[in-house]
């Protein structure tokens, strides 16, 4: 197998597994899948899921059925920055439709698509528990709240710049 956790990731993986009683290591599948997704380019390939199964000493199917159930796991490649915009009731009545439309226009992509340069993916998601700070989106592990068109412009500029610096 080509995919493997490095030493630091493996230490974190062991910490996650150690939270559960002896023989209950399957309980760690959700956190270890998060770790795998963060470590292997933001999505879970079959190879990545098989690797998690091997580490936890469970059948691959036990990992697949979990990975396909929870919405935070990406089962195909995504852009470097994923804009997960909330569209549920409270965000909708606070204007999320306009924000979604604006992002589509600005990035020239539809929900579910990634920009050609591979930087941005737009994903429409259901309630993220930020209803009082709506409209909002999640980018990686951060919430970006009280969105306006100007704020969206600034966020896109910020990540474009960040990506350019990293190259």
């Amino acid at each position: 197998m080509n995919l493997q956790f490095n030493d630091e990731q493996m230490t974190e993986c062991k910490r996650l597994v150690a939270r559960y009683p002896e023989g209950k290591q399957k309980s760690a599948v959700l956190p270890v899948l998060h770790l795998a997704q963060d470590s292997f380019g933001g999505w879970l390939s079959t190879e990545a899921m098989d690797y998690v199964a091997q580490i936890l000493n469970i059948e691959p199917i036990e990992v697949y059925e979990v990975a396909t159930f929870y919405s935070m796991y990406n089962l195909k490649p995504v852009g470097k920055y994923v804009f997960e915009v909330c569209q549920t009731g409270p965000c909708m009545i606070s204007g999320s439709d306009n924000i979604i439309q604006y992002i589509q226009q600005k990035l020239s992509i539809q929900p579910g698509e990634t920009t050609q340069d591979g930087l941005f993916t737009l994903k429409l998601v259901e309630c993220l528990g930020a209803c009082g700070y709506a409209p909002m989106m999640q980018v990686g592990k951060i919430y970006r709240e009280h969105l306006t068109k100007e704020k969206v412009d600034a966020i896109i500029a910020e990540y474009t710049q960040q990506a350019a610096h990293q190259q």
């Binding site: 059925e65 929870y70 009731g89 409270p90 606070s94 259901e126 309630c127 528990g129 209803c131």
Partner: protein
Amino acid sequence: MGVKLLLEKAHIPGIRSYDVYRREGGYRAVEKALKEMNPESIVEEVKKSGLRGRGGAGFPAGMKWSFIAKPEGVPRHLVCNADESEPGTFKDRYLMEFLPHLLIEGLIVSSFALGSNDTYIYIRGEYAWITNILETAIDEAKANGWLGKNILGTGFDCNIHVQRGAGAYICGEETALIESLEGKRGNPRIKPPFPAIQGLWQRPTVVNNVETLAAVVPIINMGGDEYAKIGVGRSTGTKLISACGNINKPGVYEIDMTISVEDFIYSDEYCGGIANGKKLKACIPGGSSVPILPANLLLKTAKGETRYMNYESLSDGGFATGSMMGSGGFIVLDEDQCIVKNTYTLARFYRHESCGQCSPCREGTGWMEKILQKIETGKGTSSDIDLLWDIQRKIEGNTICPLGDAAAWPVAAAIRHFRDEFEWHIQHPEEAQIRNFGLQHYADPIHVPA
């Protein structure tokens, strides 16, 4: 200003850190509980307090605790439900983000009362930064002797672990949460057996909401009887309300359940009135699954009495003319909002979140979403409203877990109180794309389908 038991110290600079929290009187409840009380007397205090589950169901917490089985040699577990996912609800997030040690303190006392040596916090996966805040607080508590082995020399061992979910509303249902903690899909279990008998890894387990467990701290500090004096009737203590939608001051507020709904919406201390000088049209007072109420029924009950922000008053009139306290997710809609569209987004939410185990919910939520989308986009027909009514009725009460009910109630209530708006959408498909129905309901009597 109302009584504040949970958020009283939320604004003290540095309260998130152990040192400041301790200096402000933190961890006194652990000292009192572990040194001066025993597990039975703690359960007794919680019973006396009248504390009801703050996650949405409102079941008496002390009674839930007293159900836990204690077979010889089998470990027991306390699990904290931090999977806050009900649209409109963001109170637990606020509490964990700003007062992590309050939750940890409540967890230690509750773990002692229930005999849990390994306690788990199951937090929704998106709250990744809060997971870090909680883990830091746990490390600090451990470094200061409040967690780990032989706490305060009492012989009680306790560790707290945080597990992130991965995006599934259903995992807020306690048996789905347990399945998820075991590393499986979040499919709710058939009850009985209840978690108190066979829960996590088939061991006796209690699952409580974040706010419920934090409330244990003031209950221990002041005593159950004193806590029960706050509030009214069976709505004792304080409740966190997360207010959102078209109001001037969205946010998390602690109320003592004697305030009227009207004061809560219009006073400057709380929501500060409807934003942009608009009129109030409707409100979903307890998270997206509870019945929506039009303004007139929200502020006054069908009998014309003032409605208050507590369990009994919000449900006065049953589902015909009342609603529920639920999780405290208070969603306010102004005169410009479209009830059909709002109901459609909620139906889409429940279709997305149905685990797919029970046919009425798996199929019914999809049907409701499609029909509502059809009406919203101007393609509805006159039989669609009755069809929607029929489908929601066939979901309610026919599923393993309450998600089916949670999906059915918003649709039922929207039709019950706003049928004329649905009819207008169907009769004026083109106009409905350009403008909203507004406040025209108030010229009409309230519709209650037979």
